[in-house]
């Protein structure tokens, strides 16, 4: 695992150096998922630490406004941290100034701890400001920790990422919430493209006839959209195809739990017509809550936890995919993806 990460880190560094573009926009990895308390923060924090340890410059953005606790997961004292509100009210001029050093080298946090506003209640303008400025942060990776729920704002941040990772538990409520999240993200994405295309309510109008058209799943909807509006349909398809959706199964106790992940992958393909990657699983480990209680990151407090090699594997896989992607795209330069709203 460690080797996978190290090998790809080095390869990435070479590729980027040969590219000559040192000021490229950071890659955004978002961690989300419909349900509360499923391990989003655990995963985001330890992925960020692992990534920073490869030498990459990482900023963790705590976007769980209203329930921000990433600072605790990274062992950062919240007193004196700047807030998003300061930034919105222009007391702080650049987003970069919101970043504060966290527990390891190369790692910084932009925390929502001092904000009383909830993520659902930030305005459209404020959201746009954040979305566009995230790409200007001076670092290699931005890791987004999103709150629970499927409000438009949360979905929009999730969809703006290069890689979207859902955390799922092998239990019915969590799996149901995950599907709800994917469904919401799917329709949200349709809306984004519609708007960018300056058409309105086409999807809604299709959905009104859904019984007649035999639309039972999102996959059916997309097919019908392509049939009736080929231009829009193909735009939607490529937009959705470009989005890299993945999931991690957390709190695994048995092999049957691990297998639930393969089930989810198969079902998503069938129902949504989506290929969603099963990135890996994390064991249930009581060291997690002990580290939470000590307000210290798992990676530092319990490096021998069985979860850590899994996190390294996940980071290694993501880096490898980035390497493959750059190599495939060469010599055409990689562009940071921007979300169109």
């Amino acid at each position: 695992m460690e080797n996978l990460t190290a090998r790809n880190t080095q390869r990435l560094a070479e590729l980027k150096a040969s590219d000559g573009d040192q000021d490229r926009a950071p890659k955004i990895w978002a961690v989300g998922g419909g349900k509360g308390g499923v391990g989003k923060t655990l995963l985001a924090a330890n992925v960020a630490i692992t990534l920073a340890r490869t030498g990459a410059r990482v900023i963790v953005l705590d976007l769980d406004l209203g329930g921000a606790n990433m600072h605790t997961a990274l062992g950062v004292d919240s007193s004196g941290l700047p807030s998003f509100t300061d930034y919105f009210e222009r007391k702080i001029v650049s987003m970069q100034e919101l970043a504060r050093p966290a527990c390891v080298n190369n790692l910084q946090i932009i925390s929502g701890a001092q904000d009383s506003i909830s993520i659902a209640n930030i305005s459209h303008v404020q959201k746009q400001k954040l979305l566009s400025k995230i790409r200007t942060l001076s670092c290699d990776y931005v890791v987004l920790d999103l709150g629970a729920g499927t409000t438009f704002n949360t979905l929009d941040f999730f969809l703006s990422a290069d890689v979207g990772i859902l955390t799922v538990l092998p239990e019915s409520t969590s799996v149901e919430n995950t599907y709800r999240f994917i469904k919401s993200a799917f329709y949200r994405k349709l809306k984004h493209v519609e708007r960018a295309f300056d058409v309105h309510n086409m999807v809604d109008r299709l959905m009104e006839r859904k019984a007649k058209l035999n639309i039972a799943t999102p996959a059916d909807l997309l097919r019908q959209l392509e049939r009736e509006h080929p231009m829009l349909g193909s735009r939607v398809r490529s937009a959705i195809q470009n989005f890299d959706l993945k999931f991690v199964l957390n709190q695994i106790r048995t092999q049957a739990d691990v297998d639930v992940g393969y089930g989810i992958r198969n079902v998503c393909r069938k129902y949504f017509g989506l290929s969603i990657d099963y990135l890996g699983h994390l064991e249930y480990d009581s060291a997690v809550w002990q580290s939470v209680r000590r307000k210290r990151p798992l990676a530092l407090e319990f490096p021998a936890s069985p979860i850590m090699p899994k996190v390294q594997g996940i980071v290694g896989t993501l880096l490898k995919e980035e390497v493959d992607c750059i190599q495939q795209a060469n010599p055409i330069k990689q562009q940071g993806r921007t979300v169109q709203l």
Binding site: S172, V175, A219, V260, G263, V267, R269, Y271, L274, S275
Partner: protein
């Protein structure tokens, strides 16, 4: 994240969620996973598919598996769907290429290790085997290989079938009758049949790709050591195939006895 292939009918490979170059083991594994995914108690599917829909999907899965788990039928299927395998060496473990042909054009190329063709010899069938006609399959393969110009591949074509064929003697009992008539099909019976056919432990391990431990516990009905029933079923199918027995009868019979044993042990 949308699956491009979604528009046309899903291939058997897509139904099982596996790449076209999957090994028999991987197919077996994917089959078990897919069945688990749509079983009535599955966490992964109940909230999106009704029981009726799941049942229908299960049937698709069975259909996909019954073809892909059978080397000959899989080959036919691949051919009918323009999926074919070109060998680059007679050694089955050496890289080969899989090329999907659509309208005569190569649309995709993947390097992989192919080991499916060495699985079965159509000429080694016992009289009761329900497989397709061996003669036509033999010529099909020749055709396939001829068209690629790599006839050397014929050599390893029947790597595994051979022992079953060569060890067949005139005085063998009628196995079809045995498995249809016996009161119960259990591990010791399977072992007896295997020994009657002079198939050694090593040979059956190689054929089924199961470990010694698993074969051993299968033959002893060792409830403690065997995995969950759905896996056991897969093992038995592989086992029956190695013995050229009717997989359906054997699997159903063995599983009935296995479930009975489990229940009577309070498992």
């Amino acid at each position: 994240m949308i699956d491009m292939v979604e528009e046309r009918t899903r291939t058997y490979y897509e139904i099982l969620d596996i790449p076209m170059n999957s090994t028999p083991e991987a197919i077996q594994e994917a089959y078990v996973r897919a069945k688990n995914a749509y079983s009535p108690t599955s966490l992964a599917s109940y909230s999106l598919f009704s029981p009726e829909e799941s049942k229908q999907i299960m049937e698709e899965i069975e259909g996909a598996y019954s073809t892909l788990s059978d080397a000959q039928r899989r080959k036919l299927y691949d051919r009918e769907h323009g999926l074919m395998v070109i060998r680059t060496d007679t050694n089955p473990r050496v890289e080969s290429k899989s090329i999907r042909i659509e309208g005569g054009e190569e649309v995709a190329e993947i390097g992989f290790v192919d080991e499916r063709d060495n699985l079965d010899n159509p000429n080694g069938l016992d009289n009761f085997d329900e497989l397709d006609s061996p003669g036509s399959l033999g010529s099909l393969d020749n055709q396939l290989l001829d068209s690629t110009g790599r006839t050397g591949a014929i050599n390893h074509f029947a790597l595994h079938g051979h022992y079953i064929q060569t060890k067949k003697s005139e005085n063998l009992p009628n196995f079809k009758e045995i498995i249809e008539e016996v009161e119960k099909i259990d591990g010791p019976l399977l072992k007896e049949l295997r020994e009657l056919k002079s198939i050694t432990m090593d040979e059956i391990m190689e054929f089924t790709k199961l470990s010694r431990k698993h074969i051993d516990s299968l033959e002893r009905d060792d409830l403690e050591k065997l995995p969950a029933p759905v896996y056991v079923r897969g093992f038995v199918i592989q086992y029956a195939k190695a013995l050229r027995l009717d997989t359906k009868i054997v699997a159903t019979g063995y599983m009935r006895n296995f479930q009975y044993l489990r229940e009577s042990h309070g498992m």
